[in-house]
Symmetry: C2
Subunit: 593 residues, 2 copies
Amino acid sequence: MPIYTAPTEDQLFVLDEVLRIGASEVPGYGDLDRDTLDAILGEAAKLAENVLAPLNPVGDEQGCTLENGVVRTPKGFKAAFDQVREGGWTALDCDPEYGGQGLPYVVATAVGEMFSSANMAFNMYQGLTHGAYNAIHAHGSDDQKAMYLPKMVSCEWGGTMNLTEPHCGTDLGLIRTKAVPAEDGSYKITGQKIWISAGEHDMVDNIIHLVLAKLPDAPDGVKGISLFIVPKFMVNEDGSLGDRNALSCGGLEKKMGIHGNATCVMNYDGATGFLVGEPHKGMRAMFTMMNEARLGVGLQGYAQGAVAYQNALAFAKDRVQGRAVTGAENPEGAADPIIVHPDVRRNLMDQKAFVEGARAFTLWGASLIDQAHRAQDTKAEGLISLLTPVIKGFLTDKGFETTVLAQQTLGGSGFTREWGLEQFVRDARITMIYEGTNGVQALDLVGRKLAQDGGKHVMGFFEMVKGYASENKGKDEAFDRDFLEPLKAASKDLQAAGMFFMQNGMKNPNEALAGSYDFMHLFGHVCLGLMWARMGLTAQEKLASGEGDAAFYRTKLATGRYYMARQLPMTATHLARIQSGAETVMALEAEAF
Amino acid sequence: MPIYTAPTEDQLFVLDEVLRIGASEVPGYGDLDRDTLDAILGEAAKLAENVLAPLNPVGDEQGCTLENGVVRTPKGFKAAFDQVREGGWTALDCDPEYGGQGLPYVVATAVGEMFSSANMAFNMYQGLTHGAYNAIHAHGSDDQKAMYLPKMVSCEWGGTMNLTEPHCGTDLGLIRTKAVPAEDGSYKITGQKIWISAGEHDMVDNIIHLVLAKLPDAPDGVKGISLFIVPKFMVNEDGSLGDRNALSCGGLEKKMGIHGNATCVMNYDGATGFLVGEPHKGMRAMFTMMNEARLGVGLQGYAQGAVAYQNALAFAKDRVQGRAVTGAENPEGAADPIIVHPDVRRNLMDQKAFVEGARAFTLWGASLIDQAHRAQDTKAEGLISLLTPVIKGFLTDKGFETTVLAQQTLGGSGFTREWGLEQFVRDARITMIYEGTNGVQALDLVGRKLAQDGGKHVMGFFEMVKGYASENKGKDEAFDRDFLEPLKAASKDLQAAGMFFMQNGMKNPNEALAGSYDFMHLFGHVCLGLMWARMGLTAQEKLASGEGDAAFYRTKLATGRYYMARQLPMTATHLARIQSGAETVMALEAEAF
């Protein structure tokens, strides 16, 4: 069975030493000194390691079953869900007015990594509920909030997001689900939704579905979509449960991974629904918390990479096979552990350098969200809006790739169910698809975010990187050479790519869009390069001061140097692909393929 | 259910127009005019499309079952196997002395792609038998050949390769299976072998296991390994089956993919075996046909990419979602087919350009094997020996990546079982692992093949590329710019990488080995670049002459230009990684990870 150890020390390093959140002015951050963080993360770690992780292969093996409209989750899920609920983990960053703990999002993000690494399919039940909570919290009426939120905060009730229909996913303007006004002010919802994660299951007393549908007078396209609350059981004034609503789970999707999560076909047959916010403004309402939701998926991607890496590392230290080319390192044994082989290390270092960089990037992103929401920092809001598609697209692509690398470390064992690596690969794969495919993220980045507010946010990003480099230049020659120079070169590539889009995308938008995917990856490398520079500098300062665990900081520096030397050069290839333009991409007529 | 159309036209283009095998001096090639090839490939295509492909999801869903020592293959497999056998497909390139058809290996390779794309798990039963046939054919005694080969050629009997044991795979020097001489000249084989593909199943009357084991007086390590024939049923002098041998299938591996193939734990409990070749020379015997076996796995890798691409393409033409940014292309419909979107095309072109380049590379490799074996061409032998790890490692990595890209084209549908893409991903994954992990391929390439015969073969490769470029330079400006210049630049990167290894690897072998994986990929890109240049030139010449299907050649040129513009720049990043050396790779002590 796979192992899992929560990365508490590494998260503390990022939160407390690199981002220094305890010293930040952001409301709520001041309470987060190292001991407080340590206490929270330590408790979450126990739950992740001892309760959630052991259920991960169980969930994969058993999957969910549908019988007579009832979805049963894998054995042990319900008891574990009770523990998560009772520990208050579902309420971590929720509004105290509705029973939440009111902690910053960055803390919930750190905990979210642990829970996702330990058991991604399981943690989605809570994650979806949280997404629905967010939408109602932002757009629901006071009555709606009072009625639904407390039980969603505690996860006594679940929540879902119903967007996709059989004929449309990305292009939601095509949806057909109808909402017909009833006399009492409610609506009758009719239609079929597919791929509804946690759409029906046995761990909660009620499920609050958020459903996109069209009113009879709706304009065409995305401007005619409204958002509705459609509860599984009607809720009485006193909060008790009433009649069963006219909706049902029509089937479970058989899928590559996340078997422990029920992916439902949901049928709404004149179900009673309640409008959230204004008519026809449903898309905006559903996507209000898009930055959070997409950051959460980026997190899932690298979190699978993180647990996969741990298992690859343990195997590489344990498995003996062959001898180090520079002389036996385990002469008493029949062979050396495979970690002695340069190519095994290359593989492990690629995994480690990505996972730790991604962790820092994600926590930084979460802190930007806190700055935006808690301190009304519009610059932070603009920046995270720009970075969100990068976090989602780059971290899930690379997170998946990391699970594949980790699986490779185990050789044949990696292909067997027994060792669990193949599950991480299968589970990680969905993160590149849902919450907007990574192609859609790239389109959002290049087609929308780059030019947003006159390109202010991307210019701000470049200035920030430049500022960081000039501020810290000259402190240490080796740091300049190993960290700052590669970062500057990568950032230059990113700027050149942006320039190419500006110069060519106006005349022909395909010139920009044909390079959008490479741009997203180029951007991702620059961000991880920045995070490694920041982590490297912190580690260097700590070493100089003699504070803390020197071995930890030396390892951090070495890992950062690896990323800069071995991963950042990839920006040149992305730039070359971008600069080759749209011609070769668009040359063929569709029939010529 | 996924679709499959055999790439007959594209294979004919490579075989007949690019490699011009019918005009070659290689014995047996003269008979392979276009009509003959077309007839063979056309028949194979029918079988692949109509019989094997429909069984692919069935095999995945049902898998194999073990009950009371009997392994049952999925429903329909046995009847299909009979059809393959009756069509003579198992005997294609086998020795006529034992009932084979004596066709060149390159023809079997083209057919192999179709069968592998259609149903990889199924085709492995035949593939493993062929591997065992090869070993006995090369090293068995005349009596052994007469006794076993005819029924293996016809696949009335199956064959297996038993190498791995629970504690060792890559490092076979550690094996523990024992062979004790009996009085009658046979041996008693005792030990456990794992991951034995097709180790036990119900489609053949007998299974001829080839087993690596150690004699009592064996030297330590790989120099003490002998090879044995261990039949499931003893074979009488007259060829009839005798007693059941003391061996059994102890379990089936649960694995990520290739569910239709039985991956067995094989227990040998004093089973009767017969020495093949000389004592202690088993490794050599087992690996005689290593180039063929590894090329066969490279083929499996891109073949999964090929069928995945077909399905991605069909989806992209059919699925309507969003509008082309340059104006509606399907104004009557609710939306445009997604193939209009630049990023969807980027994805499809990456798939297409890889698959077609890989097909040409593999068929060229197979023709080198024919040249080596049929025309005793030692230069071809040296070249294919050099290229084999590249074919295996690069084409399986990229083949897997292509299945992932294809899966992505389908968005959420790609994650569901129903569409079949996720099976291609799961099946392709094993090709990066078995027959020597891709890390081992990289080690073989850099640690062994580069320096083989004083580096003669790699120098020969560089000269060939250089010669090709100078021969064809100046014929056409656009061809020079689009094909020859990028090829030369990529080849220069490869030479620079080789130079780095020469200059630094002597002092410290880790300097070379830390870059081995990138070198394998760099080499692969140069090879595909060369194949695209050759295909592009052929297409250009055909267009100029007005012969054949102009649309086909124009598409070929456009696809080649894409590869050169968008894939070849990757060589620069691989070179940068290589030139960063071993320092960052080896910096950490194992405990520091």
